[in-house]
């Protein structure tokens, strides 16, 4: 495959995007998991589906938009969804989790309408749902690089504030941190990563790349720093193994990446069990 990567542009795009996504999705995912926002990532991925489906429909029906990259509308939908989730969480103060099914249903509802209007599934839409090795364009890669830069800048600027917010929100507010604004920015960045990841992992599986490597890392990490490092390593391993097997077995990369993540998760669970049994018997 190494020779093929240098030979074919679509493989270069897929591999480069995969490596970037394998880095930023678990990196942000650590904060998503410890802040118990995993389901919000799922809701946002469904909203992204509405944006993608809407874009595919518009490009079919309006000639001038035929060349519009669906990723743009996907990003707009995802970011709008994240802002709506925040609004709804404030509106239903005592039932914050209600925001998730509301936004998820809205995303799926609009998605279904646009898919029907576009007269069913096209192979392009299938690749958005489950990812594709061949569908990542050079333009997609540039968008993903842009999103990665935003994530890295955001985390460099707000890492310590995000740690405090994740660990103890009330303490963060009492310390005078602008908790609300940092959270809104965090949601927007999450929405961007979800939209950016879907080309590789697919809309339906994108949240798993933000949560499964983190779930595996948390089983064996002793510190927050270690949890981040291991999450990124597991994320990259899942993407590389997943992409290679998807290419050779002609499968959707979303599936192979997620199954690899699951295998890593199971290995960490068993290794910890074996480790603790060894400690007891030793």
């Amino acid at each position: 495959m190494i020779e093929s990567i240098f030979q074919y542009e679509f493989l270069q795009n897929a591999f480069a995007s995969g490596l970037i996504i394998g880095f930023i999705a678990p990196l942000l995912g650590v904060f998503i998991v410890v802040r118990r926002l995993s389901l919000i990532a799922d809701a946002l991925s469904h909203v992204t589906l509405a944006g993608i489906a809407g874009s595919l429909y518009l490009s079919q029906s309006i000639g001038a938009l035929a060349l519009l990259n669906p990723l743009y509308l996907g990003i707009v939908a995802s970011v709008t969804g994240s802002l709506f989730i925040e609004r709804l969480r404030r509106l239903y103060k005592h039932y914050e989790e209600l925001a998730i099914p509301i936004i998820m249903s809205a995303g799926l509802g609009f998605g279904a309408i646009f898919i029907s209007l576009a007269e069913g599934f096209s192979s392009d839409l299938f690749s958005y749902l489950f990812g594709s090795v061949s569908a990542v364009s050079r333009q997609d890669l540039w968008i993903i690089i842009g999103i990665a830069l935003i994530v890295i800048i955001f985390l460099s600027l707000f890492f310590k504030e995000l740690f405090v917010l994740s660990f103890d929100e009330e303490y963060a507010k009492a310390s005078g941190l602008p908790a609300k604004w940092i959270h809104v920015l965090f949601m927007i960045v999450t929405a961007l990563v979800i939209a950016g990841s879907m080309r590789i992992v697919g809309i339906l599986l994108v949240s798993s790349l933000m949560t499964l490597p983190v779930a595996a890392a948390m089983r064996i990490s002793k510190s927050f720093k270690q949890a981040i490092l291991l999450s990124v390593i597991f994320g990259e391993l899942s993407v590389v193994i997943g992409l290679v097997s998807a290419f050779y077995l002609d499968l959707a990369p979303g599936g192979t990446i997620v199954v690899t993540s699951i295998i890593i998760l199971l290995l960490t669970i068993f290794s910890k069990k074996i480790g603790s049994k060894g400690a007891v018997s030793g």
């Binding site: 740690f163 660990f167 103890d168 009330e170 009492a174 005078g176 002793k222």
Partner: protein, 255 residues
Amino acid sequence: MGTPLINLHNISYQYEQTKALTDINLTIAEGDFLAIIGPNGSGKSTLLKIILGLLKPTKGEVLLFGKPVTQFKDKERIGYVSQKSNSFNTGFPATVTEVVRSGLVKKTGLFHRYPANVDKLVKQALKSVGMDEFSMKNIGDLSGGQQQRVFIARALISNPNILILDEPTVGVDSKNVKSFYNMLSHLNREHNITIVLVTHDVDAVSKSISHVACLNQRIHFHGFKNDMDQMSDEQLEAWYGHAVRKVDHQSEVKS
């Protein structure tokens, strides 16, 4: 009396239809060790949140170091240990050092890294609460009492003038409560940190504190702990919300 650090003027607070606090006037001076005590639902935690600026009073004014709480920016001068710290996610993958270091977040400021001597500051803060041997432990692996000490170290690392604690001994086993309050007493006397805490543990805390505020929607008593004996039966009844009888059992409050 030392310099007033916290002034509450005619504070009232209402949760939708329910009155939580009415006309609270309270001054907390430098060096005080004040326990705010009262029955469940008496407004103790609400009062702390108003002092910290987490809740806006429906009436009245809070002054911190002479400035209105809304204009007070030096939040690092106030260390806070929330009630919630007792029920934080024990699965959170963080070491004691990482938790204590996060207490510098406000002092360091947005867009800045922690100072170069952060490790030394963490060590000092942990030492002051007797937890320096636990720096690399996972926070979830510690007992309730040890976790509370770590949260106090997190509050102390920014070198605050005031330490505010909301029910700090919830989840701490009874044999460790005494040493916990001894540690607070040491911080108050030796490091001149003004301490305000909310508690149900009147007996356990009584040896350490200098002042008491009896709260049940209103302040029914505020003064030196030894003067609490002077509360009349009517005052006690109004404070508890039902008839009570004073029993002298040579408790720490009287000593």
